[in-house]
């Protein structure tokens, strides 16, 4: 007799039970419908317990502490480096640099790689749909080195303009920085193809994975990107732990980003030689407890499976787009269907400012974000100043989306009483 393994169904109820914040009561309000995970995710009890457990039982500074606590903290910290490498299918744990967040990871590359490699007139390319954290660091290093900036355009429905990408590749850029998923629009970009084209043009490729790594399977060897930046706090981990993945051959050639402890081999008053990677890029005491908590977040995500999470978000994202289409006066910004699109919906409402939409939703305990989402260039390109954005994650349900749609109708009704 053969054993058959049932395909595990996506059990949102049991997932939600692991997230205490979702069950927090707010006086006079219905339960929380949290639709702002693109800004920061909520944390499961296992991650929260790990943080208190770390400080109660393991806390000590890592590396070179010749005593039990420090050895255990060091082991736990380095174990997460191995786990992260596995999670991304990186070739080696030495390719994993712990930072605070995506922003720090991109600044690290811009400064450490950029100062060593960029000459006046060199071209840095990024897209119009980048988050400010994948724009401003390149502007800064361009100012410092005399490098030029080139911008991949977007189409009216919020996709990359691939013709402008090809035209830029013909100019042989030194670096191409591109987001895998747009935080403002939800667009999923074909970064594997783009990386291949960029490499053919001689460029180094950085992928902003802040909105992709938490939601879909990401394999750095398959993508063949040179750098991947993402934040732990958007994927169930604590704030304070993020990751820069970099190919070791590239990291090896880069000078340090910050100077200090842990990143040296030998220091005299005149001269310092650098530690090997990744320690070279981890000056000072890292967020040890946060990194260990991040490891538990990875374990949690793995236990459910990134492919299952992505499928759940695709289904719920499609349900959300359908629900939004039925709301009067609502206009979706960005891709209009779920093709190459994540569970992020940015929209405007006739006659109601996005900030007011979000405030009315908050009255109904529906949490969304309003504003420019740190992506002013792409909103300007699409002719809007700000939007309201709802984003789903593994713990969201159709009920959350129904609550969103009902509250949006209420918002429209408040500002258009005669249409009721």
């Amino acid at each position: 007799m053969t054993m058959t393994t049932a395909v595990p169904t996506f059990d949102t109820a049991s997932i939600r039970a692991d997230f205490p914040i979702l069950h927090q009561a707010r006086p006079g309000k219905p339960p929380l419908a949290f639709l702002d995970s693109a800004a920061s995710s909520q944390k499961p009890q296992a991650v929260i317990d790990t943080l208190t457990g770390y400080y109660a039982e393991t806390n000590a500074n890592i590396h070179r502490g010749v005593y039990d606590l420090s050895e255990r903290a060091t082991h736990a910290f380095e174990q997460v480096r191995r786990q992260t490498a596995q999670f991304l299918n990186a070739a080696s744990p030495r390719e994993i640099v712990f930072v605070r967040n995506t922003t720090e990871a991109i600044n690290l590359v811009a400064q450490a790689w950029g100062r060593a490699n960029l000459q006046p007139g060199d071209l840095i390319v990024f897209s119009t749909m980048e988050h400010h954290s994948n724009i401003v660091p390149w502007q800064l290093i361009a100012e410092q080195t005399g490098a030029r900036l080139g911008f991949i355009g977007v189409t009216g429905d919020g996709r990359l303009d691939l013709d402008s990408f090809d035209a830029l590749m013909a100019q042989e850029p030194k670096l191409v920085a591109i987001t895998q998923v747009s935080n403002a629009l939800g667009t999923v970009n074909p970064v594997k193809d783009l990386a291949a084209k960029a490499h053919a043009a001689g460029a180094v490729v950085l992928v902003d994975g802040a909105q992709s790594v938490p939601h879909m399977p990401v394999d750095v060897q398959d993508l063949d990107c040179d750098f991947l930046a993402f934040s732990g706090h958007k994927m169930l981990g604590p704030m304070g732990a993020g990751v820069l993945y970099g190919k070791k051959a590239l990291l090896d050639t880069m000078p340090p980003y910050m100077g200090g402890g842990s990143m040296i081999r030998k220091v005299t008053l005149e001269k310092t030689t650098w530690a090997d990677v990744p320690a070279r890029f981890e000056a000072g005491t890292p967020s040890v407890g946060d990194v260990i908590g991040f490891g538990v977040a990875l374990t949690y995500l793995d236990s459910i499976g990134m492919a299952n999470i992505w499928q759940h978000e695709m289904e719920l994202g499609g349900y959300m787009l359908d629900a939004l289409r039925d709301v009067p006066g609502l206009h979706l910004i960005g891709p209009q269907d779920m093709t190459d699109r994540a569970g992020v919906a940015s929209f405007i409402m006739d006659g109601v400012h996005p900030h007011d939409v979000a405030a009315i939703l908050d009255e109904d305990n529906v949490a969304v974000r309003a504003g420019h989402h740190c992506a002013q260039p792409v909103l300007s390109a699409l002719g809007v100043h700000s939007t309201t954005r709802a984003s789903v994650y593994l713990y969201n349900t159709q009920d959350d989306v129904d609550r969103l749609a009902a509250s949006l109708r209420r918002a429209y009704g408040i500002f258009h009483p005669s249409d009721r």
Binding site: H353, P354, G371, H372, A406, I414
Partner: protein
């Protein structure tokens, strides 16, 4: 689903948002000032004409949420005809009283943007945000 009395979206805000008083610009004006609330991108510009030490004409323009635009509209009604000295002494509580609805901490910056812009213009300041953080 929601008790309407805890909502900021009551008649006075909605009415001033849809039918603002003193909306527009003045050219020439005795002083003009504009500023943004960088958090949500609200923009307010205020143009003022002064005669006999009083606000003789005032217009506001800009874009943003209902709270910021309605508050600016209410403010222009408050100060029209007042002496500049009286306008300088207007505090946030006076404006909140005029609005007449509890303003939650999250919306205070929206509600006060017009007053910040007006005062910065009155004082001829380069930048409203630092000097008038607490109005």
């Amino acid at each position: 689903m929601n008790d309407a009395t805890d909502s900021i979206y009551r008649e006075i805000i909605l009415e001033h948002y849809k039918n603002p008083k003193n909306r527009g610009t003045l050219d020439p004006a005795d002083f003009t000032y504009e500023d943004v609330n960088p958090l949500c991108g609200d923009e307010v510009r205020i143009d003022v004409r002064v005669a006999d030490g009083k606000v003789s004409e005032i217009r506001f323009s800009g874009r943003g949420c209902a709270v910021s635009q309605a508050s600016a509209s209410i403010l222009t009604e408050m100060v029209e005809g007042q002496s500049l000295e009286d306008v300088k002494s207007i505090g946030k509580e006076e404006l909140f009283d005029e609005i007449g609805i509890p303003i939650s901490p999250a919306r205070v910056k929206c509600a006060l943007l017009g007053l910040k812009v007006l005062k910065a213009g009155l004082y001829g300041l380069d930048h409203a945000s630092d000097e008038l953080e607490d109005i």
